[in-house]
């Protein structure tokens, strides 16, 4: 157990860095932001990262908590419990409407 914990702590230390955030469609317009670098000190889930964003930008809350909002981690559709690490690219966007 102790060894496991140590490894996790080391991981946390080495995993500090930036996550590149992207916003598309109506969300981009509402946030008035298309991309943003977010400093993280340890891996966190997409929903935890959203909470971080809301604490930093409280006026974004209604848009980031939109029920239909989708997320893609490193260009793969991802649910809110997926872990985000430093160096990752995370995009948020509304349901798609192409074609």
């Amino acid at each position: 157990m102790a060894v496991g914990n140590e490894i996790n702590q080391n991981d946390a230390v080495s995993s500090a860095g930036k996550v590149e955030l992207l916003f598309f469609g109506q969300l981009k317009e509402r946030l008035k932001c298309s991309k943003l670098s977010l400093e993280i000190t340890q891996p966190l889930t997409i929903s935890e990262l959203k909470l971080r964003l809301v604490s930093q930008y409280p006026h974004w809350q209604p848009w980031l908590e939109e029920r239909e909002l989708l997320a893609a981690l490193n260009q793969t559709m991802s649910s809110s419990d997926v872990i985000v690490k430093a160096g990752d690219e995370l995009a948020f966007f509304p349901p798609v409407t192409g074609g």
């Binding site: 893609a72 260009q75 798609v96 409407t97 074609g99």
Partner: protein, 152 residues
């Protein structure tokens, strides 16, 4: 088997794309193409243009994956998907899907499958421009229901 994916601001020529699908292709007896256009009426108001944006990189990957899924289900020797982005005026072409197959049924179904999946999964977002306003298009439940026929 070949797959051609293109996301571009420029217009495309349906005749040229059709010729490319047919040229040096002696094994396929069927070509089905679909072209989507900017239409006038949406939610009651007169649309004068559409603005389309996408997620560069992810969109192309998704379109490639949709085409590969179609090739797993049907014998589609050639697939071409072109989707435009940027500002598109009324009547302009938005999207092209062309497939070839030995027989027509696979070609018809394959092209429809690709369009249904593109509508639901490809990372494009559409904004409608009216005379004095603009509006982001909402996702349609009918597009989601269209996927039902491919689930089995």
């Amino acid at each position: 088997m070949s797959i051609h994916i293109q996301v571009q601001t420029d217009d495309f020529n349906v005749g040229d794309e059709h010729n490319t699908l047919c040229s040096n292709n002696k094994s396929d007896g069927a070509v089905v193409t679909f072209t989507g256009l900017v239409r006038e009426f949406s939610s009651g108001d007169n649309v004068i243009a559409l603005e389309l944006e996408h997620y560069p990189g992810m969109t192309e990957q998704l379109l490639q994956s949709i085409a590969e899924q179609a090739q797993k289900r049907w014998q589609l020797a050639r697939i071409c998907i072109i989707h435009r982005v940027g500002y598109l005026a009324l009547g302009e072409q938005i999207v092209f899907v062309g497939v070839t197959s030995r027989h027509r049924q696979a070609a018809f179904e394959g092209a429809q499958f690709i369009m249904d999946y593109l509508k639901n999964h490809a990372t494009f977002w559409k904004k409608e421009h009216f005379k004095n306003s603009s509006n982001w298009v909402e996702f349609k439940q009918s597009d989601k229901q269209a996927l039902g026929k491919w689930e089995s």
